[in-house]
């Protein structure tokens, strides 16, 4: 289980890895706003390409990532298909009225150019969000997330939850394996060839209960250890993983500040003020 984790626990070597946690978290939040705020292909496509370039520059393990991309891609395609099933003419309200029928299955199920446009932009939006999240996840370590969140004024107790939760995941994996082995010794069959699917599910619940209870039993010990080291006494906190800003961080800072201002401008002019159509459609 621990081998399947996507997030790194050790900082990497490439330029994107070497940015500070503050930069990564702030940049990521601005980019999320950027993705969420619009359905405009002129904004989404460049970001998607930049995201892929960023992903390539980190030299990730493609075998693992490919799997995530396929799963999420299929999931989103099914979603899009459901959207079309629910309302085949969904593009009309998005592209400012009018629907150019390309093909007609029956009275209700039609394919319109607007719907294709809307659904493909939507798919692009979801995939861009995936690419950007992937870049963020692969470039950051849990301690840097905590440091970055602290830099945007999140209370440090919540930051601790983030970094500590990730520290704890290998322990969960180890406990799970131990409990599983001791259950198997007592005759609980977990082999997929010998036990049916339903019995295996029941037996996994049997493993789960001791796992959860033993994990929560450890709360007292860890809390005492941290109290002894003076956790929670000060009002502020500094992070070991937070380094001094390098040149790349300063450049990134200018970039995300500019992008943030652009987002505010876009939301005020395009999202709050009424528009003739909800998205940019070139063929109307």
């Amino acid at each position: 289980m621990a081998g399947q984790l996507l997030i790194n626990l050790i900082p990497g070597e490439t330029t994107l890895h070497k940015l500070t946690g503050t930069t990564k978290v702030r940049f990521f939040i601005v980019l999320l706003v950027f993705i969420i705020m619009s359905f405009d292909i002129r904004l989404l496509l460049p970001l998607c390409i930049l995201g892929i370039v960023g992903l390539l520059s980190m030299k990730p393990n493609w075998k693992v990532i490919k799997y995530f991309f396929i799963i999420t891609g299929v999931m989103n395609l099914i979603n899009i298909f459901l959207f079309w099933l629910v309302d085949p003419d969904c593009g009309a309200i998005w592209c400012g009225g009018g629907s150019t029928v390309l093909y007609q299955f029956s009275g209700r199920f039609i394919i319109t150019a607007e719907s294709i446009w809307y659904l493909s932009v939507r798919f692009l939006k979801m995939m861009t969000s995936l690419v950007i999240s992937m870049v963020f996840i692969l470039s950051i370590t849990p301690s840097e997330i905590a440091a970055g969140l602290y830099s945007i004024k999140v209370p440090y107790k919540i930051c601790t939850i983030f970094s500590m939760a990730f520290r704890y995941i290998p322990d969960i994996a180890r406990d799970f394996d131990n409990i599983k082995i001791s259950m198997q010794v007592r005759g609980v069959e977990l082999d997929s060839k010998k036990a049916s699917f339903m019995t295996r599910i029941k037996q996994y619940v049997l493993i789960l209960v001791p796992l959860i209870i033993s994990s929560f039993d450890r709360v007292g010990n860890i809390a005492n250890a941290m109290d002894l080291r003076g956790y929670g006494k000060g009002k502020t906190r500094t992070y070991y993983s937070e380094r001094e800003e390098q040149k790349a961080d300063k450049a990134a800072k200018i970039l995300y500040c500019g992008l943030f201002l652009f987002c505010i401008y876009w939301i005020i002019t395009k999202n709050i003020m009424p528009q003739p159509s909800k998205m940019w459609y070139p063929f109307s």
């Binding site: 289980m1 995530f68 309302d87 939760a165 209870i213």
Partner: protein
């Protein structure tokens, strides 16, 4: 025993112990969300992670349960790698809050009090919590964030909600009884005269 104010019960006590419990809860939530569930519909899972807020809520109060769920879902997104779904994270947080209201209606797991009456209220709270979190909060946020088609989100919410209620009642209630019994072991002593 000193009676605590309602507000304090809701907020929980934010000492080191609570922070660690939330961290462990969030870690378990994230792991179970990824490895302890079966996908039943797009974006929806029959997941055993849902019992974590019950335990955190019963021991530490609703707001810690809310934080556990929100952070836990974000962690699940981080290790799962399917992109971030903050609408669902916040929906789960709201659900965690409502499910974690246990101490408010007298089910004190720490003192070993969990009776049939509490179980009934708990089930009702689960149903209402799911209906509110995934029927109101998540669809609204989905529309705000992604401009989603509401019908699809509602189908997702409905399947997710039913799955959650199932997990919360079928696994949650036995665990709550077991925890209460464990903690009550030493408190039913009577004074011998």
């Amino acid at each position: 025993m000193k009676k605590e104010s309602t507000l304090k019960t809701i907020l929980g006590v934010w000492n080191t112990k609570t922070v660690i419990a939330m961290a462990i809860g969030a870690a378990l939530f994230g792991v179970l969300m990824n490895f302890g569930g079966i996908t039943i519909f797009t974006n929806t899972k029959l997941t055993t992670a849902m019992i974590i807020p019950v335990i955190v809520g019963s021991m530490f109060g609703p707001v810690p349960a809310l934080v556990t769920c929100t952070v836990g879902n974000t962690i699940a997104d981080l290790i799962g790698g399917w992109g971030f779904w903050f609408d669902w994270s916040i929906g789960n947080g709201v659900l965690g809050f409502i499910v974690g209201l246990l101490p408010l209606y007298g089910a004190k797991i720490n003192d070993g009090i969990f009776k049939l009456r509490h179980a009934v209220i708990y089930v009702i709270a689960c149903v209402i919590g799911n209906a509110f979190a995934f029927g109101v909060v998540t669809p609204i946020l989905t529309t705000v964030f992604y401009g989603g088609e509401l019908n699809v989100t509602f189908v997702q919410s409905l399947t997710g909600g039913i799955a959650n209620v199932l997990v919360l009642t079928v696994i949650g209630i036995p665990i709550l009884f077991a925890l209460a019994k464990r903690n009550a072991r030493n408190t039913n002593l009577t004074l011998d005269k």
